[in-house]
Every structure is written in structure tokens, then in C-alpha cells.
């Protein structure tokens, strides 16, 4: 019944994007925690430190950021976290899917792990859906459409935002 989950997820996200009350609250929340989005509380970090990059161009809060080439969700950089750290009050789902994106600064492809941050309702800010190199759903484990929060017993299903963690150079 995954299609039912997906439809529900999609409509919930659509409502969250359009809802003016939520976006007002989101804007106020952004002011409260500071425009830089620095978390005030202990945060859940990814399992591994991101690989050191020679160059990491662009704005992680922008959909055009190079690591977001196949992301589908709200950017954690706009939600009190970062491209590799979950916002306070959420936990990173360890079960996820991993793709590759091209870094224009050094010409290399990198493996990107799009871990979802889970346990709070949708962030509602900076929705970004890019599908470079996507194919029809031949392999479920390589789809960005799923709520990957559902894959972990600890984090529970509520999806909050998506990260774009670098796993390594794809060579």
C-alpha cells in the first residue's frame, strides 16, 4: 500500500508548502533561532564525518546547490540543520538511498547520501525536488520518492527534512 503512503505524503507536503499559517510560523521560527539557522540544542549528527572536499561551491540552502542533484524534500539547511546535520529534535534515519552528483568546482562525481531527518512534522521550508539521471522506478532502493524515515524503527515515520551528505568520491 506504498502508493497510499506516497499520495498521503505528497498531499501533506503540498499542503505544508501552500499553508500560509505554516509559512508564517516557519518564518517566525527562523527569526527565533537566528537567520543562520544555528541549532541551539544538541543535534543528532550523521554516522560519519563528511569527507573533506577541496571545493564545495554554492549555497546549501539553495535548490541549485550541486549536492542536491537528486534530492526530494525540504532542505535541512533551511530547517535549523545543515546539508549534513539534522535539526534539533530530529533524528537522522540511517536507512536511506545514495546517488551521485557532479561537483563543478573540482570536476569529480561524489556519492551523496540523502538521509532524511525524522521525528517532527515537515519543515515546510526550501522544498527542492531534482531528479537528474532519474529513471522509472526500476529499483525501489534507489528512489528519492520514498519517505525514508519509515525505514528506521527509532526515528518513526514523521518526515522533517532531507540532508545531502557526502560519502566519498565516486570513482
Amino acid at each position: 500500500m506504498k502508493w497510499l503512503d506516497q499520495i498521503t505524503e505528497g498531499s501533506a507536503r503540498a499542503i505544508a508548502r501552500r499553508s500560509s499559517r505554516r509559512s508564517l510560523l516557519g518564518a517566525l521560527g527562523g527569526l527565533l533561532i537566528g537567520a543562520s539557522g544555528l541549532p541551539l540544542l544538541p543535534v543528532a549528527r550523521g554516522a560519519a564525518k563528511p569527507a573533506a572536499l577541496s571545493a564545495d561551491p554554492g549555497d546549501p540552502a539553495a535548490c541549485e546547490y550541486w549536492r542536491h542533484c537528486a534530492i526530494d524534500g525540504f532542505l535541512c539547511s533551511c530547517c535549523g540543520g545543515s546539508q549534513s546535520i539534522c535539526p534539533p529534535g530530529t533524528d537522522m534515519s540511517p536507512v536511506t538511498w545514495i546517488g551521485t552528483c557532479h561537483n563543478p568546482a573540482d570536476g569529480k562525481d561524489y556519492a551523496i547520501s540523502y538521509n532524511d531527518c525524522c521525528g517532527k512534522s515537515s519543515c515546510g521550508r526550501c522544498f527542492c525536488n531534482r531528479n537528474e539521471g532519474d529513471t522509472p522506478l526500476y529499483r525501489a532502493a534507489q528512489s528519492n520518492d520514498y519517505n525514508w524515515c519509515a525505514g528506521d524503527s527509532k526515528t518513526n515515520i514523521p518526515y522533517h527534512c532531507s540532508t545531502a551528505r557526502i560519502v566519498g568520491v565516486a570513482n
Binding site: 554516522a47 560519519a48 540511517p94 536507512v95 536511506t96 538511498w97 545514495i98 546517488g99 551521485t100 570536476g107 569529480k108 562525481d109 556519492a111 547520501s113 529499483r139 532502493a141 534507489q142 525505514g151 528506521d152 524503527s153 560519502v167 566519498g168 568520491v169 565516486a170 570513482n171
Partner: protein
């Protein structure tokens, strides 16, 4: 690294004979397996099997090797037979709590090709039986 029939680009990505990029075993693990089995192959107790504890013991007996090549994550992966074999041998050497014994035999493309086209559909019972028969502790 260069090998027969493969061109290497400046970025270090090798091309297979059909022109599609082939990655190193390390990267293939990241793209095909790590999403569920985790970066170190430990999985999640009760939900995602541990590679660290079972790949090498399973690979030492015929029924275990057959299981490894027919389990859907391997059998139905996007990798060709050669890349599956290379990946499994890399995993046995890099993602195992059990040290590689001297009688470990590398997987080959031929062996992969013989078994992967018949993926398992009932996996849990077979895996539990293997764990019992090989006296591998069942956690994970």
C-alpha cells in the same frame, strides 16, 4: 589502474565494454548496499542483516555461497556479474568481523552468473537455517 577492454577517464571512472561507467567496489558498496546495510556493513538488528558477521562464514560453504548470490539485494542489483564478484570479495576483506581464512575462495563472475538469475523469495527461513548450521550467532 588499467585493464583489458576498459578505458579510464580523467576523473578516474572506468568505462566497461558497453560504455557504462563502472565504479570501484568501495563505491559500488556505497551506491548499492550501504543505504540499508550501513557504511560498515553492520545493518540493523532484527531488520537489516549484518554483513560483518555472516558474509565470510556463509562464503565458506556451498549452501552459504548460493544464499549470498541469490539473496535479492545481490541477485537483483544493478551490477553485472563481474562487478558483483569483485564487490563481494572486497566486502569479505573490508567489512567483516570474521577474519578472512586461508580457505576462502574468491567469488567469480562465472559463479555469480550461474546463480543470480534465480533470486530467493523466501529468505528468512533459509538464512536462519544457515546461521544454525554454521553456528553463527543469530543477532543481526
Amino acid at each position: 589502474m588499467a585493464f583489458f577492454g576498459v578505458a579510464v577517464l580523467g576523473t578516474g571512472v572506468a568505462l566497461g565494454s558497453d560504455g557504462a561507467p563502472t565504479y570501484s567496489a568501495r563505491v559500488n558498496y556505497q551506491l548499492q548496499c550501504m543505504g540499508c546495510h550501513r557504511a560498515d556493513g553492520s545493518g540493523e538488528e532484527g531488520r537489516v542483516p549484518s554483513i560483518r558477521r555472516t558474509l565470510v562464514p556463509f562464503s565458506l560453504v556451498p549452501q552459504g555461497r548460493e544464499f549470498v548470490l541469490r539473496v535479492p539485494g545481490v541477485a537483483q542489483s544493478a551490477l553485472n556479474d563481474r562487478d558483483v564478484a569483485v564487490l563481494l570479495n572486497w566486502m569479505a576483506r573490508n567489512l567483516s568481523d570474521v577474519p578472512l581464512p586461508s580457505n576462502y575462495v574468491d567469488y567469480t563472475a562465472l559463479e555469480v552468473g550461474r546463480l543470480r538469475h534465480n533470486p530467493l523469495t523466501t529468505i528468512k527461513e533459509l538464512r536462519e537455517r544457515l546461521l544454525r548450521d554454521l553456528s553463527v550467532a543469530p543477532i543481526g
